[in-house]
Symmetry: C2
């Protein structure tokens, strides 16, 4: 028997509601933030490379360790009117070196028209950076609210990335510790499964200071310990909503210290 008009409409209503619930979860916003930050970084890197190449026509000797300073330099340096005071505001003690290089530069004298376009590029890069910072700040706030336990142990930035990589908090709460340990290292994991190369010791959680800064030999064990605590934390965030992270973090720190001490003894 075909559905009558009334039931048909009821079914539509219920389906609509389900779709709304599926896309309304807060972790979806976290996933969007992580993706947006990633894409803003890619874009600004791409345009920054172009800036260095283009500006290199004008002042190829200009180099800075810090990209933000380079962009500022592009905006203020005028080879026709060298201004030490202006340079010192941005570059401090490096300013005289830059002045010296300016005077012997082999760069070509670009017209004001040309320079104006290069500076527009530089301003665009600054704008991309500040938007990235803004979204990162927002991402941290959402992470702290959505997964306080994960954020407390891993830091809000890493917590956001883990949730995004897992495809949502509810999904992450179903993962075993071994999966969370290598989350983000899927490529190395599948290489291991296919060709028998060494399995990855850590994925995204490598970004945690306790892992990245530890000696190589201890990293695998510390990663396992951290992943175990994050697994419990993700279940607390997704299901029980209790805040148990202080205890978990303390336990992890004790374990990590012991692993590092054992490691030193063996050497």
């Amino acid at each position: 028997m075909p559905f009558d008009q009334k039931s048909r409409e009821d079914f539509f209503k219920r389906a609509r509601k389900k779709v709304t619930i599926a896309i309304s979860s807060r972790d979806n916003i976290l996933i969007q933030c992580v993706g947006a930050v990633d894409e803003l970084n890619k874009s600004s890197n791409l345009i920054f490379e172009r800036l260095t190449e283009w500006y290199g026509m004008y002042f190829p000797e200009f180099k800075t360790a810090d990209n933000a300073k380079y962009v500022q330099g592009v905006l203020i340096i005028d080879r026709k009117k060298p201004d030490l005071a202006e340079l010192e505001k941005v570059f401090g003690p490096q300013a005289p070196t830059i002045m010296g290089r300016m005077k012997v530069s082999v760069g070509t004298g670009l017209s004001d028209e040309d320079l104006a376009r290069i500076r527009l590029l530089a301003k665009e890069i600054q704008s991309l950076w500040s938007l990235r910072d803004e979204i990162e700040k927002y991402e941290a706030a959402v992470a702290t609210e959505l997964c306080p336990n994960l954020s407390y142990i891993a830091g809000s930035e890493l917590a956001a990335k883990l949730v995004a990589q897992a495809g949502g908090l509810q999904r992450m709460a179903t993962f075993p510790s071994s999966t969370i340990q290598v989350l983000g290292a899927e490529k190395a994991l599948f290489k291991h499964l296919k060709s028998g190369s060494k399995p990855p010791k850590h994925g995204l959680i490598f970004q945690h200071a306790m892992i990245g800064k530890s000696p190589k030999k201890a990293r695998g064990k510390i990663a396992r310990s951290l992943a175990a605590k994050l697994t419990i934390a993700s279940k607390a965030d997704a299901l029980s909503h209790n805040f148990i992270a202080e205890k978990l973090k303390a336990q992890f720190e004790v374990q990590a210290k012991r692993i590092l001490a054992d490691q030193e003894k063996r050497q």
Copy 2:
């Protein structure tokens, strides 16, 4: 005998001058412009995709054929306060459809905080677009000045791309017509040379209206004719600096018409 201090300095001076000349040529600016436009396009596409995905949480039924309109929509649409007059300013006769979709949307109600970040993304995209337009305009002006013959026949945008692809105007002037015909189709050309697939009929010059809009069977011949004229034009721009493009363009148009007429007869 080692050089004395004086000759050493003289040599340095001469070397410096040569470097300056090498990077000062105007076609280098053209190359930078073409690259920058390309990268601004890539970046804005990347961020636009993120925008549609993120905004899709809020109003998944919102679709426009035109990306610029989509971005404008993101900036003005407020599902809590539907405003037909505001919508009509941007979308004209489409506005009522959008209003209708807004009312039955399955999208989730994002907070103002969330929407503010999405709108920042939208504004960034607009800013990338307007910078791209600005650099494209500048690129056209430089091309018209640097290679008036090429620009007259191919249009300044295509001329700029050809010069950039060739690695400079002087280099382009040494190319035979067959190279200019497939400039930008290097991948297809080398595939042809390696595996004997069909050779490419056209590279960048496909963008010329006379080729892209002609029937497929005539394109190869028209491309050959256009490439021949562009080859002469590039030599005039790089070496003799005479303006001979009017004659060349007229000749090309006669040839193209004949090729099209022949093609029609054969069918």
